[in-house]
Symmetry: D3
Subunit: 221 residues, 6 copies
C-alpha cells in the first residue's frame, strides 16, 4: 500500500490542485495524508464563527477523502513567509518522517500567493533522498486562482504529467462545494465552472474526459 | 481605421487562435486580412474533392469574418520548413508591405507543428520597424491542438494579453464548425467543447465570461 | 480620463524607469499617481538635513509631473524585505483601491536591489482582476542601475513594449537633475549621459529618437 | 507486458543514454524496440568494411538487449536535418503505429549534434495522444558527448526522473564496448570511465549506486 | 601569441559586435582571423558594381584590423540555412583546424536573422574540446540590428562579459563607416549614433567609458 | 598578485565547490580569502564539543589552503535568511572592501539550501562595479549536495567555465576528509567518491583528467 501526501498552503488548495488525483489514489488503495500549512485566526478580517466553521469544513473534507490523518502546521495565513524557514522545514520534516510518503503533491513555486511559494519551499528538502528516503515521486499541482496569476514569468507552470480524473471529477466538485466561503460565481477562478473548464482543457491535452495536470519535480525508482 | 492581419499556417488556426478577437476587431471597424501559409494538394492523403471543399470553406470563412482580403502563400502543407526561408520571408514581406497592418497575430513559436514554427519565423522580420513601419502590435496566439503539445519546453506559451470575447464566442464556434473535417469529438483538442473550455479558463484568468489569451511579442507606440 | 500609477521603491526610480512615459500620459490627459515604497531616515548614513532635502525634492518632482497625489508607504529604505509581506500587500492594496488605476508601472522583479524585488512582489496581487478590477495594463520598467546588475540570470528584463518619448526626454532629464544626490558622472548608471544613451538604444530598437522600454506583465481589455 | 521504444540518432546513443534502463525494462518483462534514425555509408570518411562492421555491431547489440525488433530509418548520418521533416515524421509514425510503445526514450532537444535535435523533432508528434494513443511516458535521455556540449543555453537538460541501474551498469558497459570505434580513452566523453562517472553522479543525486537520469517530457495515465 | 577568430554571418557583423574587442586584441599582439559566412551575388537585388564594391570594403576593413587572414565560406546571403548543415560544419571545421584559434567570437543564437542563427550553429562544434583542442574561450556578441529584434523570447542575449573598448571606440566607428551601404541615419540600428549609444550603455553597466558586452558560451583553462 | 575570495555558506562548501581551483590559484601566487557566512552553535542539535571541533577543522582547512585570512559573519546556520538582508549586505561589503578581491566564487542561486541562496544574495552587490571596483570576475560554483537538489527548475546550474584541477584533485579530497562529520559513504553526495565522479564528468566535458565547473556571473576587463 502506497502512502500519498497532499500539501495545502490553505485548505481548498488540495482539492483545487489534486482533488481528483487524491480520490483516485484512495480508490487504488493508497493511504492519504493531508498537510495544511496555515490557519486563519479570528480577528484578521474573519470572525471566530468563520474560523470554527472552517474547522468543521476541514473535518468534512478529510472525511470525504478518507484521509488517514490531517497534519496541521498552524502557521498564520497570508504570513507563512514571516515564519522562519528553518522552523517550517523542521516541522515539515517531522511530518514527512512520520508519514513516510511515497508520492507528494506540492503547490507550484511560481504561484502568485506568497504562502504557496513558501509552502513549496518548506517541503523542498523532501526532494533530498538522504533526508526523506521514502519519497519516490514529487509533483507540483496548479490552482487556477494562483498559478495563473503570477506576474513574474520566471517560472511558468509546465505540465508534464496528466492524470485521468474523469471518474472522480464529480466527487471533486462536490468536495469543492464544502468550501463555500472561498467560492464565487464564474468567471471567479475558484468556482465550479472554472474548475470544470480547466479539467476539460487538461483532458483535451491528454486524451481524457477530464484530467488534472502536474509538473513532475522529481521521480526515483 | 486600423488594419489587422491574422496569419494562419493552415486554415482554421486563425479561428482557433484569434477568431473571437478578429470578430471584435471587425466590429470595431478594423479592416481584417488573412494570410494563409500552406495549401493542401490532392494526392497527399487527401482527394481532389477534399481540396475543392476546403477552398469553399475558406471562402465561407472569409465571408463570415468580413475579410478585406485573403492572401495565400500556397506552400505545401506539412512541408513549410522545406521551402527556403528566404523565399517565405520575401513572399510574406510583400503581403505585409501591401496590407500595412497595424496589428498582427502569429502562431506561437513553440507550437508542436513545424508549419506553425515556420510560419512564425517567416513573419518575424515584421517585428523590425525599419522593415515594416506600419506594425504597432504583434501577438502570438495559442491553438490548443499544437500549443499544448510541444514536448520541447524551451518556449512555453506565456499569455500576457487577454481579450474579452464573451460577445463573440458563439460566432467563433459557428465559424469553427465550417472546418468540419478538422474537428472531432471531445476530448479531441479541435472540438467545440475544447475550444469553449479554453475560452472559459482564459476568462477565469482575466475576469471575462470568455477570453482569448495572447503573448505580446512587440508593441510600439 | 485614465488613471496611471507609477510605483517607485525609492524616489528617482519612477523617473529613471518611466519618467518620459508618465509625462506623455500627463499630456494625454491622464491622472498620475506616485506610490513611493520606502523612506530614508536620519541616522542610517544620512543626516536629518539630507532627509529634509529629499522631502523637498519629492515635492518638486511631484509638481514637475503634475502628480494628482503622492502615496507613501514609509517603509525603511534598503529594508523593504524585512517588512512582513502581508503588511505591504495590505497597504499597497489600499492605495490601489483608492486610486483605481488603469495602467500600472512596476520595478522589474529581476532587479539587483532587494527593495525593487519586494516592491514588485507587494504589487503583484494588483494583477488579479478579482482583487483590483480597475487595472487593465501592468508593465515592468527598467532602471539601468539595478536592472542590469542582477547577477542572477533567471529573470532577464525582456522588453516587449516601447514608448516613444522623443518629445519628453529633455523634460525627463530635467526632473532627473532634481535628484542630484543620487547622480554621479558617467559611466555611473544614474547619470544624464547613461540615461540618454539608454533612451537612444531603446529608440534604435523601436524606431524613435528616444524611447522607454517595458516588459508587459498583464493586459486585459 | 509493456512495450518500450528507444530512439537512437546513431547506434550507441541508446546505450549511452538509456542502456541500463532498457536492460532493467527487459528484466521486468517488457518488449524492447530500437529505432535507429541514421546510417553511415561508405565514402563519407568511412570504408565499406567499417560500414559492414557497424552492421554486425548493431546485430550483436540488439541481441545483447534482447531487442524484439530493430527499426531502421536509414537516413544519412550527420545529415538528418537535410531530410524533409514531413518524410521523417511519416516514417517515424509508421514505426510508432506498428510498435505501439507505452514508454519512449528520445535524445534531448538541446543536444549539440543536429542529428540528435532532428531525431527528437521527428518523434515529437508521438506526444500527441490523438496521433499515438499507446504512448504513456516519454523521456529525454542524456548522452555525455552531446548533451553537455550544446553552446546554446536555451535548453539545458533538466533531469527530473532517475532510474536505479546499479544492477545493470556492468552489462551496459559491456555493451558499450561493442562500439569500440566510437570510444576513446578518458577524458573522452564516450569512454567507459566517463560513462561510469556519470552513472555515479546521477546515483549520488538519487540515492543509488548507479543511476541514469531523464527529463520527463510527458506522462499520462 | 594568441589567435582570435571573429565569425561574421555578413561583413559588418564583426565590427558591430566585437570590433573594439578585436582592435584591443590586435594591440595586445594577438593574431586576428575573420571568417565570413555569406557572400552577396549580383542579381539578388544588388548590382555587380555593388558586389565588387563590397569586396573592396572587405579588403579595406581587413587591412584596418590588421587581419592575419580572411576566410570566406561563400554561402549565399540570406540563404545560409538552405546550405546543408553538414557542409557548413565541414567547411567551418577546416577553418578552425587551420587557424587553431584560442578565442572565438560568434553571433548570438537568438538573433532575428536566420543567417546569424545558422552561423552560430555551424560553429557550435568548436565548443567540443575533442574536435577543436585549441579553443579556450567562446563568446557570443550582440548586433543591435539583429540581437534586439528576435520576437522569439526563448533566448535573450544575457551579457556576462564586458570588455573596455574606450580606447578603441573611435577606431571601431571609423571602420564601421566603411560599410556605408549598410548604414542609415539614427534611429536606424546600424548607425554611428546607435553604435555609440550601445557602447555607452554597456560602459555604464561595467564601469568604462565605452564597452562591448558578450555572453560567455564556454571557457576552459 | 591577484586576490581571490571564496564565499562559503557553511565550511566545506568552498572545498566541495571550488577547492581545486582555490589550490590552483594559490600555486599561481594569488592571495586566498575565505568568507564563511554561518556558524553552528551548541544546542541546535550539535554539542559544544562538535562546535569546538568544527573550529579546529576550519583552522586546519585554512592552513591547508594557505588562506591569507578567514572572514566570519557568524550568522546562525540554517537561519541565514532570517538575518535582515541589509545587515548581511553591510557586513559582506565590509569584507569585500577590505579584501578588494579580483576574483570571487559564490554558491549558486538555485541551490536547495536557503543558506546558499541567501549567501549568494548578500554578495550580489559585489557585481556592481560602482560598489566594489576591484572585482573583475564572479563565478557560481556547484555543490553536489545542494546544486542538484533544487526542486525548483527556474534556475539550473549552467556551467560555462571549466578549470583543470587534475593536479589538485588529490589535495582537494584530502582537505575534504577534514570535514569528516559532514561526509558519509557513497552514494551520499558529500563523499569522496561522489566528489571524484563529479570531477571526472566535468573533466570529460572539458578535456581534462579532472575539472571544476562554474557558471560565469560577470566578467569585466
Amino acid at each position: 500500500m502506497r502512502t500519498v501526501l497532499g500539501v495545502a498552503p490553505h485548505p481548498d488548495d488540495e482539492t483545487l490542485g489534486c482533488g481528483g488525483t487524491l480520490l483516485r489514489h484512495r480508490d487504488d488503495g493508497c493511504a492519504l495524508h493531508w498537510l495544511i500549512a496555515t490557519q486563519a485566526s479570528a480577528g484578521e478580517g474573519v470572525s471566530q464563527a468563520w474560523v470554527e466553521q472552517r474547522e468543521r469544513t476541514i473535518e468534512r473534507v478529510a472525511e470525504a477523502y478518507g484521509m488517514a490523518e490531517v497534519h496541521r502546521l498552524g502557521a498564520p495565513a497570508t504570513r507563512l513567509d514571516a515564519v522562519p524557514l528553518a522552523d517550517l522545514v523542521g516541522a515539515t520534516s517531522e511530518v514527512f518522517s512520520k508519514v513516510a510518503p511515497h508520492v507528494v503533491y506540492l503547490p507550484h513555486p511560481g504561484d502568485a500567493h506568497s504562502d504557496h511559494r513558501r509552502a513549496f519551499e518548506m517541503c523542498a528538502s523532501g526532494g533530498k533522498w538522504f533526508r526523506q528516503a521514502s519519497v519516490e515521486e514529487i509533483y507540483a499541482y496548479e490552482t487556477l486562482s494562483e498559478t495563473r496569476f503570477g506576474l513574474d514569468d520566471r517560472q511558468p507552470f509546465r505540465p508534464t504529467a496528466y492524470v485521468d480524473v474523469s471518474m472522480w471529477l464529480e466527487r471533486k466538485l462536490e468536495i469543492l462545494r464544502e468550501y463555500s466561503t472561498e467560492l464565487a460565481a464564474f468567471p471567479f477562478p475558484r468556482s465550479e465552472e472554472s474548475t470544470e473548464a480547466l479539467a476539460r482543457v487538461r483532458g483535451a491535452e491528454s486524451g481524457f474526459e477530464a484530467a488534472e495536470a502536474f509538473q513532475l519535480l522529481r521521480f526515483r525508482r
